[in-house]
């Protein structure tokens, strides 16, 4: 089975409010899957359904190929966006308690606790009370609680919020390490840079519907705009510019190039392939820069949501 999780036609209503409508999603094994969407799009409801906190009105969820069972939660690690800890409990006791709720024995829980305390550089925290911890420190504990039972699927809702850049980087490395060791990560975040640099797959929800999903590269392919960064060395810049303007749409250049060269963003019509365009350019000067502009996840997000507003 190549998908750790498969959602088929998931719908959920709260009273008159449609939280999710007919959502299909497939999350491939050993990938980082980014789930995005404006506030209120239904991300949290979807995540809660996977965690079996709420049940869908329609549709089904397959976990590792089979309809999801209550016992499967031991294979899932969930870091909610709104997360907390028992304030008056000691850090160590708390982690052991939550790990045991996930099915570990006390001994297993203890061994792994020490491993993770070491990994996150908090070896001497066992006897600290939670109300002595700063927000970032508490976040580390919550992360450990999420991963300590070695889940096959990790669901992380805004995992980096509250971390300083050093600790955010520490957590990011751990997430990638977990993926390389075989875990699948479902990452829900509004931080597009994290999606861009970490995710293999993405899905975008908006107003209870799925707008798009797929491999991040494929999605980007779909959103190509045929805009190319172009720079030429030539003595006749005015002639060049008016010549190109008459045939193509020119956009302001927002990239750096060799000083003194003519530059522009050129939008090619569907009918003209890049090579054909280059052929046309060759007599006009020395091409120093030719690069297709790929849409950022951020642009894809904004564009798709605006289209369905």
């Amino acid at each position: 089975m190549q998908h750790i999780l498969e959602a088929k036609g998931i719908s959920k209503k709260y009273g008159d409010f449609q939280a999710l409508h007919n959502i299909d999603l497939k999350i491939p094994k050993q990938s980082i899957f980014g789930i995005m969407g404006p506030n209120g799009a239904g991300k949290t409801t979807f995540i809660r359904i996977i965690n079996q906190i709420t049940m869908p009105d329609q549709g089904e969820v397959l976990f590792d190929g089979n309809p999801i069972q209550p016992d499967d939660i031991q294979q899932i690690g969930y870091l909610p966006e709104e997360r907390g800890l028992y304030k008056s409990m000691k850090v160590g006791e708390q982690v052991l308690y939550l790990a045991q709720l996930k099915g570990l024995t006390k001994k297993e829980a203890k061994d792994r606790l020490y491993y993770w305390f070491e990994q996150l550089e908090i070896d001497d925290w066992f006897d600290k009370k939670v109300n002595e911890l700063s927000k970032g420190m508490a976040q580390k504990i919550q992360f450990i609680v999420t991963v300590i039972h070695q889940p096959k699927l990790l669901i992380l809702d805004e995992p980096f919020s509250g971390f300083d850049p050093v600790n955010a980087n520490l957590i990011r490395k751990q997430i990638i390490k977990l993926k390389n060791e075989g875990a699948t990560i479902l990452l829900s975040t509004h931080r597009m840079e994290n999606i861009e640099e970490m995710c293999d797959y993405i899905a975008l929800l908006n107003k209870s519907e799925k707008l798009l999903d797929g491999k991040i590269d494929d999605v980007k392919q779909d959103f190509r705009t045929q805009v190319f960064q172009l720079s030429l060395k030539t003595d006749q810049k005015e002639e060049l510019e008016s010549h190109l303007k008459s045939k193509f749409e020119l956009l302001p250049a927002d990239f750096k190039t060799i000083a003194g060269n003519w530059k522009a963003n050129v939008k090619l019509p569907e009918s003209i392939a890049p090579n054909q365009f280059l052929k046309e350019l060759m007599p006009l000067g020395t091409i120093t820069h030719f690069n297709e502009v790929m849409p950022s996840v951020n642009e894809i997000f904004i564009k798709s949501v605006a289209e369905h507003a």
Binding site: Y78, P80, L85, K87, L98, L101, K102
Partner: protein
């Protein structure tokens, strides 16, 4: 099941290790003992107060009859006029002037007057009234040539000994013992339900505002979390009971030890003998109570009533965001408990087997309090069985409905829900 055990253990330890638990367990018995001692001390102060009353008796036959009684002494003021007597009473700061005008004995019933700055105690006035009316009656009987000795010799006092059909005898003293035991048991149950119900509610709110609840219910079902919480808190309550029972036992042994020593001292012998016989009578009455039934019923009604209300308390905790929002929901919960106490004190004691007492000892929201108050007076076993059955059935209902509200509520943040919304939550599927 394993998770339920883990939750119960955590809840239990969290509760028992908490400062308020330790304080409540060890300090509140001391506070209660101190309060009882204080009340006893104040009452004894009241008894020690001396009353001096001036008497102007124009007929002249009551003075010696009034005599001196306990802390009240009657002073002869016959030589003064009424006005002079009043001045003297004021000057000497006496407690009042009793004026008996020179009238025909038959007309005297509403002519006697008592002048006082501070209104006298009810018991003092009725004491004086009794003496005067006895004396007047005697005088009038003598005047009518009736032999007082004959009347005295033939006077018969009736003390009805009630005996129930199974042959248990009760005296009037026993009635007070029963009232005390039943009342105390019912009151304790009410206090425990409120105190421990609040603890559950607070602990639910804590988890919710902490936002740890979502982490936990991604591992366990909400109903398990709720049941674990309720069970853990119940066990903590039972622990507290046990500690109190042990402390009470030690205290009892200690006091009886001290009491023994005071019996040994010769000066106290006389009064101690009287006290001992009184104590023995009370002890006998206590032993005659259906103690086994009472203890058994206390445990069953405590657990049943507590679980019934804890379902409601947990639901309230789940529905709100902060303790400040709980007031409007708490009030309707406390009303039936208060009602139980009032019905108990006013109706059960008057007539333990009357319609109202029987009715309220079967309504599950009040039965733990009311039935416990009735049991010392003897309740047929089948009535107890019916009442407990209704209680347990309702308990499952409130926990089930409570869990439905709880399950939805713990994931809701923001505005305080209305009753209408709570009703919708109850109907909602998963």
């Amino acid at each position: 099941m394993r998770n339920l055990k883990l939750i119960i253990l955590r809840e239990y330890l969290a509760r028992v290790r908490h400062k308020t638990f330790v304080i409540m367990t060890f300090v509140s018995p001391i506070v209660i003992v101190a309060m009882i001692a204080l009340v006893a001390y104040l009452a004894s102060l009241n008894e020690e107060e001396e009353n001096k009353i001036a008497v102007k008796d124009e007929i002249g036959v009551f003075q010696e009859y009034l005599g001196t009684e306990g802390n009240t002494s009657f002073l002869n003021y016959n030589r003064f006029s009424v006005d002079a007597a009043l001045d003297s009473v004021k000057a000497q700061d006496l407690d009042g002037l009793l004026f008996i005008p020179d009238k025909n004995l038959a007309e005297l019933n509403d002519k006697v007057q008592f002048y006082a700055n501070n209104s006298p105690s009810k018991s003092l006035i009725s004491k004086i009234e009794n003496r005067l009316s006895n004396r007047i009656t005697e005088r009038r009987l003598t005047n009518a040539n009736v032999n007082l000795e004959t009347i005295k010799a033939n006077k018969t006092e009736v003390n009805i000994i009630t005996e129930n059909l199974s042959g248990e005898k009760t005296s009037s003293l026993a009635k007070y013992v029963k009232m005390f035991f039943g009342g105390a048991a019912g009151y304790l149950i009410m206090m425990f339900i409120i105190i421990y119900g609040n603890m559950i509610m607070r602990s639910v709110i804590e988890e919710k505002t902490n936002r740890i609840v979502e982490i936990i219910i991604s591992s366990v079902k909400p109903i398990h979390l709720m049941l674990g919480k309720i069970t853990g808190n119940t066990l903590a309550g039972i622990t507290q009971f046990l500690i109190w029972a042990i402390l009470g036992g030690i205290l009892l042994i200690a006091t009886s030890f001290i009491f023994d020593i005071s019996l040994g001292s010769p000066a106290a012998t006389g009064s101690a003998e009287i006290k001992t016989s009184e104590i023995q009578a009370i002890l006998a009455d206590i032993l005659r109570l259906p103690l086994g039934e009472l203890v058994f019923a206390f445990v069953v009604y405590f657990i049943g009533g507590y679980l019934l209300y804890s379902g409601i308390y947990a639901a309230i905790g789940g529905a709100v965001d902060s303790e400040a929002d709980t007031q409007q929901f708490i009030f309707p919960v406390i009303i039936p408990l208060m009602l139980g106490i009032y019905v108990g004190f006013f109706s059960v004691i008057e007539n333990p087997h009357g319609t109202i007492a029987v009715l309220f000892s079967h309504i599950p929201l009040t039965s733990p309090v009311v039935m416990l108050m009735r049991i010392p007076f003897g309740v047929p076993w089948w009535e107890v069985v019916i009442s407990i059955s209704i209680l347990i059935a309702t308990m499952f209902c409130t926990i089930w409905l409570g869990a439905k509200i709880y399950r939805v509520g713990i994931l809701m943040h923001g505005n305080k829900p209305s009753y209408k919304e709570l009703y919708r939550w109850m109907k909602r599927g998963n």
